[in-house]
């Protein structure tokens, strides 16, 4: 849909700006979206990531105009969206259920928005054909949704959301309804299409792998708030809190107390690890409580007696996953550890349950988090 563009000079603002938005469904009840502020630049593939009920879908519906914020503002290219109904917003949504109109063909579904814009017939036909080609469905234009497979429906829904060349496309769990194999292929496909059309994508997902593999930036949400914002690598390698570390991928957390600092390394006494751990981190006051987080794949097996951050334990169980194996290791103090070892050789001998192992990790491999 074309926006009623204001004649005023564009203020220095980002493409999509969300300012301190609050949404409560019951007066006085818990906020579904609790003071979210966010700036998204044109052309980004942005992901809102969080567990179900964290408010990410509500935020999406606020952007589409299906809900109105109790507080705060939403600006698209500087235009305040307050009071603008869904049918006048330069925003299109791809629904989780796809919401294809069952009584219309694929082509009619894609043309629906263009018809509302009252474009000339020939232009509509050309645009629909171009959109269906973009999603590689030109040959199925006359099929009704119930004659299409799940993956094909998903493509029609995407073509429909792109047809009006909106400023922003909202994708609600775009891959959730597909089976696993198709989902992985479609990830690349979606990113490819987004690059090609250059439209800003804002995706909601609860799948961290999906968010990390597709998005340029991710906002992790919990209980209606954004708890961390960054690139996939920043979110994974430098989580800001225990919640983020735990939600994004597996993590081993040790509660500990700072003993001292030496040459950029922090010495943390962890009773659970049965040792003092060295972690790369700026100095903290001795005696502060912290948590040390280590990803399972950053722990290695080591025979070296001088390795730093040595942990002695016993294998409890193993899960062979092909490219890697994940082991559950019980430390001397009873703390359970998850360790992922890559199967670099075909004939690698897996660790057996009950086997005693020595593990270690580099100081740079761990992160210090608030307790």
């Amino acid at each position: 849909m074309s926006a009623p563009a204001a004649a005023a000079p564009a203020p220095p603002t980002s493409h999509l700006r969300i300012e301190d938005v609050v949404k409560r469904f019951a007066p006085g009840g818990a906020a579904a979206v609790d003071g979210v502020s966010l700036d998204i630049e044109a052309g980004e593939f942005f992901a809102l990531l969080g567990p179900s009920g964290c408010g990410k879908t509500t935020l999406l519906r606020l952007l589409a105009g299906f809900e109105t914020p109790d507080q705060g503002r939403i600006l698209i290219d500087g235009a305040d969206m307050e009071g603008v109904p869904p049918y006048r917003r330069p925003v299109n949504m791809m629904f989780q259920s796809y919401a294809l109109f069952p009584h219309m063909t694929a082509a009619e579904n894609v043309a629906f928005g263009l018809r509302q814009d009252r474009l000339p017939r020939a232009e509509i036909a050309a645009r629909v054909a171009a959109m269906l080609d973009l999603v590689k469905l030109g040959h199925l234009a006359r099929r009704k949704p119930h004659q299409l497979s799940g993956g094909e429906r998903q493509r029609v829904a995407l073509a429909r959301a792109l047809a009006q060349e909106p400023k922003l496309v909202l994708l609600d769990e775009p891959l959730a309804a597909l089976d696993r194999k198709l989902r992985e292929e479609t990830r690349f496909e979606l990113v490819r299409i987004q690059r090609r059309v250059g439209i800003t994508f804002l995706m909601v997902t609860h799948d961290q792998e999906e968010a990390m593999s597709m998005a340029t930036r991710i906002a992790v949400m919990s209980a209606g708030r954004i708890v961390q914002l960054g690139t996939p690598q920043q979110i994974y390698e430098a989580p800001a809190s225990r919640f983020v570390a735990d939600f994004i991928g597996g993590v081993n957390l040790f509660a500990g107390r700072v003993v001292g600092a030496e040459r950029g390394l922090l010495r943390v006494d962890c009773a659970e690890a049965g040792a003092q751990l060295l972690v790369e981190h700026a100095a903290l006051a001795p005696g502060s409580d912290v948590a040390v987080a280590v990803r399972p794949e950053k722990i290695t097996l080591t025979p070296e007696p001088e390795a730093r951050n040595r942990l002695e334990g016993r294998v409890l169980g193993a899960a062979y996953r092909g490219e890697a194996s994940t082991y559950e290791v019980e430390l001397a103090g009873g703390k359970l550890l998850r360790v992922t070892l890559t199967n670099t050789q075909r004939t690698i001998r897996p660790l057996a349950a009950g086997q005693a192992v020595t593990l270690a990790f580099e100081p740079a491999a761990a992160v210090v988090l608030p307790p």
Binding site: A64, P86, Y87, N92, M93, Q96, A99, F101, Q116, H146
Partner: protein
């Protein structure tokens, strides 16, 4: 389920069906009887159907019945759709429970009471404001609207309950205004339920004897009323023939309505 019925169950099933449908089958069979006596079989004949064609009183009654049924079904469709839409889409409003009860009450209300109360209403109205002047087709149709509305409301409400709201949101999102969304998305998708509701209301109106008897006036006898009164004077095989035609019509309509109501499985 095991594939085969035990003998006992098969016999019980046959007895049950015979009890339910035996009289109807005998009625249909005797409509093709050559004899004037309904209890003596004298060979196959379509004589009574031919005679029926020339019976003016029955023609008139059939036309009256059809006109009333079309009017009542259309009125019931309008009111019932609104009621069903309100019940399904507005989950919380003051008096919703009472409204729901009142809309569906005619489904279980004894017809005698519905008929009598409407008769009293029409008489009182006539005395108070002079309208409706006397009883006739208008009052029967109005009475049938009350009954049909309940059926339409229930059918429409059920259909809307199975309706994916995100379809309407998607249409809004693509730039269609709410009124247009209702016309091009909601209405086409619930159309089978509307057609089913209309057919049900039509059939109910065509069938009804009790309410029509209370609310009819002179020269507005419906088909069931004509059948009922002529049977009291002695059963003519002509009535069998008429009843058979009636049966076929109603069976076709109800079957179509049922198909339409189940049509939702296709488009989801």
């Amino acid at each position: 389920m095991t594939g085969r019925l035990s003998l006992f169950l098969a016999v019980m099933l046959a007895v049950g069906y015979a009890f339910l449908y035996g009289p109807i089958v005998s009625l249909v069979v005797y409509s093709f009887n050559a004899s004037r006596l309904v209890t003596v079989w004298a060979g196959f004949s379509t004589h009574w159907y031919v005679e029926l064609l020339h019976n003016q009183a029955i023609h008139d009654a059939a036309l009256i019945s059809l006109e009333i049924a079309v009017t009542a079904a259309t009125g019931a469709l309008l009111l019932g759709t609104l009621a069903g839409y309100a019940l399904q889409r507005y989950r919380r409003f003051r008096g919703r429970a009472l409204f729901s009860l009142l809309v569906t009450a005619p489904l279980v209300m004894p017809e005698v009471i519905t008929g009598l109360s409407l008769l009293l209403l029409f008489v009182a109205l006539e005395q108070a404001i002079g309208w409706p002047a006397g009883r006739g087709m208008l009052t029967i149709a109005a009475a049938h609207v009350t009954l049909g509305t309940a059926y339409v409301a229930v059918v429409v409400e059920a259909r809307l309950a199975a309706f994916d709201r995100s379809l309407e949101e998607a249409a809004l999102d693509l730039g269609a205004r709410p009124a247009k969304v209702f016309l091009v998305i909601t209405l086409p998708l619930i159309a089978p339920a509307l057609a089913a509701g209309w057919l049900l209301a039509f059939t109910l109106s065509l069938d009804d004897l009790v309410i029509a008897s209370f609310t009819s006036g002179p020269s507005s006898s419906t088909l069931p009323m004509v059948i009922f009164s002529s049977v009291r004077l002695g059963v003519s095989p002509q009535i069998n023939a008429l009843a058979t035609l009636f049966l076929v019509t109603v069976a076709v309509l109800v079957t179509v309505a049922g198909r339409l109501m189940n049509a939702r499985a296709q488009d989801s």
